[in-house]
């Protein structure tokens, strides 16, 4: 892109100790998919993971998850609302984004985005509305003016809370959640496939990519729910349901073991198969990504949580300590997934298609796709969540007190 980048690459070539000179194709110096494309799968991953928690309660009847089931739905919804923001910021011509819906190319993995997103948004919204209908009806009765109208619209103008009506709602919820699982899996799995389907990039093109993305999505989503639950409850001066936390952590442990195994399997297969591009992948992981992959993603953010999760599984801990460690593990795992996305998306692009060299990526603060934009986008879902909290009560027992 700019002359400084070129200089950087030639400097690299001088000190290269590899078998081959560090040569980057002239069009490969610029990293086209930068932080926004790191953020996008991160956000849909959070949506996915949060939705899994809700699904475990509403579809698979994991009763201990009751305290956070409703909250996870709202959490997923808040983040899903912002999932398109990084994509719009990334697009060179964001004003043309509707072309995705107008003329989706049947051969492109990316083309389905608009429709998959629309369906998942619809399904999730209706799940939220049906789950919250009893609360909304109660609140609507007490509300006045505009709020009354809003509650009427959100309850489909039906204040029928009879057993028969609630049973129908229950069936619809189960159906929608059942539909939501494949939709959520497709929404996020296809993000993995967008990378996995790029044969030109040897670190991306593996059928494991959608699987890794799905499992790490569950990890990040569940972690986020755990942290959010603990923090919001503590701030409000409420108690934390330790049974619920323990179930979450068990689920999280399972998903994280799967995610980490597949992440390592991918690296292992590369280094064992030693295909034509092996030297490039090896050089990438041990060169430009040495600290962000081995140190941060693997050692700090994967091995430490694994040890902690092991302790939590095998050592009987007091609830308060368990909760504290849960928060810590979840925070580390949230970071792990973010770093993993970074290493896949940006790391993968550092390899030039010349198979002879690596380019560099330096994030900027105040760019359309800069760090500041990332922070702002990550704040918006919390603002949405705050507003939603005014209409939809987060926790189940607040409803009971509200009815009186």
């Amino acid at each position: 892109m700019n002359p400084t980048l070129y200089k950087a690459s030639t400097e690299l070539s001088h000190g290269a100790s590899m078998l081959i000179s560090n040569y980057v194709f002239p069009n490969d110096l610029h990293v086209h998919w930068s932080m926004m494309i790191v953020l996008y799968p991160y956000i849909t991953g959070l949506v996915d993971g949060a939705f899994i928690i809700a699904a475990l309660y509403y579809l698979f009847d994991v009763k201990s998850l009751k305290p956070i089931a409703r909250f996870s739905l709202l959490f997923a919804f808040a983040f899903l609302c912002c999932a398109t923001l990084p994509l719009l910021l990334h697009l060179g011509r964001p004003e043309r984004n509707f072309n995705m819906l107008l003329t989706p190319s049947p051969s492109s993995a990316m083309a389905g985005f608009g429709y998959i997103y629309a369906v998942s948004m619809g399904v999730l919204s209706f799940i939220v509305l049906f789950v919250y209908r009893p609360d909304l009806v109660e609140r609507g009765k007490k509300a006045k003016g505009f709020m009354k109208l809003l509650y009427r619209a959100l309850t489909f103008d039906s204040n029928d809370l009879s057993e028969k009506a609630l049973a129908l709602d229950g069936k619809i919820i189960r159906f929608l959640v059942g539909l939501g699982i494949p939709v959520a899996a497709v929404l996020h799995g296809y993000v993995g496939f967008i990378f996995g389907g790029v044969k030109a990039n040897p670190t991306w093109s593996t059928p494991l990519m959608p699987v890794i993305f799905l499992f790490s999505a569950c990890v990040s989503g569940i972690s986020a729910i755990i942290i959010a639950y603990i923090i919001i409850r503590k701030i409000g001066g409420h108690s934390v349901d330790s049974d619920c936390i323990r179930t979450c952590i068990k689920t999280l442990t399972g998903f994280f073991i799967l995610a980490f195994s597949f992440e390592m399997l991918e690296v292992f297969s590369h280094s064992y198969l030693k295909t034509g591009y092996h030297h490039m992948v090896e050089g990438l992981l041990n060169g430009p990504l040495a600290s962000s992959f081995w140190l941060w993603q693997v050692k700090i953010c994967s091995v430490i949580p694994l040890i902690l999760l092991g302790c939590m599984a095998f050592i009987p801990l007091k609830d308060a300590i368990y909760t504290a460690i849960s928060g810590l593990v979840s925070a580390i795992l949230l970071l792990q997934v973010f770093i993993m996305r970074w290493n896949v998306v940006i790391g993968g692009q550092l390899m030039s298609k010349s198979a002879r060299g690596y380019t560099e990526f330096h994030p900027e603060w105040f760019d359309k796709e800069g760090i500041a934009a990332v922070i702002i986008i990550m704040l918006i879902p919390f603002i949405i969540l705050f507003v939603l909290g005014k209409i939809f009560p987060f926790w189940a027992e607040e409803r009971k007190s509200g009815i009186q």
Binding site: L102, T103, S105, S107, F156, S158, D160, S162, A165, L168
Partner: protein, 177 residues
């Protein structure tokens, strides 16, 4: 059917209706030539085909510059494009009229230009394709000042023109069958 079920049926119906409206709208907004040959806008092919030419061919230059043409076409540089050294046709002629003079390279610019192709130091040049020189060696060998530019001996359009003429005069020219 209860009132509640009726409401839900109404919601489902509105979703279906909205989707239907969406698809009708979509059909309206797709460009006309889209899908003629495949899932793309067929008019884009014609638009690309009508892109304005910047380069002509050597023949477009020779039409007016006939004196240069006679020299250029006889020399060893006949395969060299006029526009590479002088600039594109479109910078010179527009709507059949001259709009600007194209630059003529001078002095060391010429040497630099010559050495783009003829520099022996760049070893990747097949002797079957091009004759190369180490410029310093060449100047020394020819007993001329090291500040000489190429065009002081070589006509840029026909590099051996003067040399052959000189050889003819001095009788050094090899006689060819």
């Amino acid at each position: 059917m209860s009132k509640h079920a009726l409401r839900i049926a109404f919601v489902v119906a509105s979703v279906v209706l909205m989707a239907g409206v969406g698809f009708v709208l979509k059909a309206q907004l797709i460009p006309k030539s889209f899908g003629l040959y495949g899932p793309y806008r067929a008019d884009a092919i014609d638009e690309e085909a009508q892109r304005v030419l910047k380069h002509g061919t050597n023949a477009s230059c020779f039409g007016c510059h006939q004196y240069e043409a006679t020299i250029h076409l006889k020399g060893n540089h006949k395969t060299i494009s006029c526009e590479f050294c002088h600039g594109t046709y479109s910078d010179h002629i527009k709507n059949g009229k001259k709009i600007a003079n194209l630059p003529v390279k001078k002095g060391t610019e010429i040497t630099t230009l010559c050495l783009r192709c003829h520099n022996t130091e760049i070893k990747a040049r097949s002797t079957m394709v091009i004759k190369t020189v180490g410029i310093q060696d060449h100047l020394k060998k020819q007993n001329v000042k090291l500040t000489h530019t190429c065009n002081q001996c070589h006509h840029v359009h026909a590099p051996l023109k003067y040399i052959n003429e000189a050889k003819k005069i001095t009788g050094l020219m090899e006689v060819k069958p």
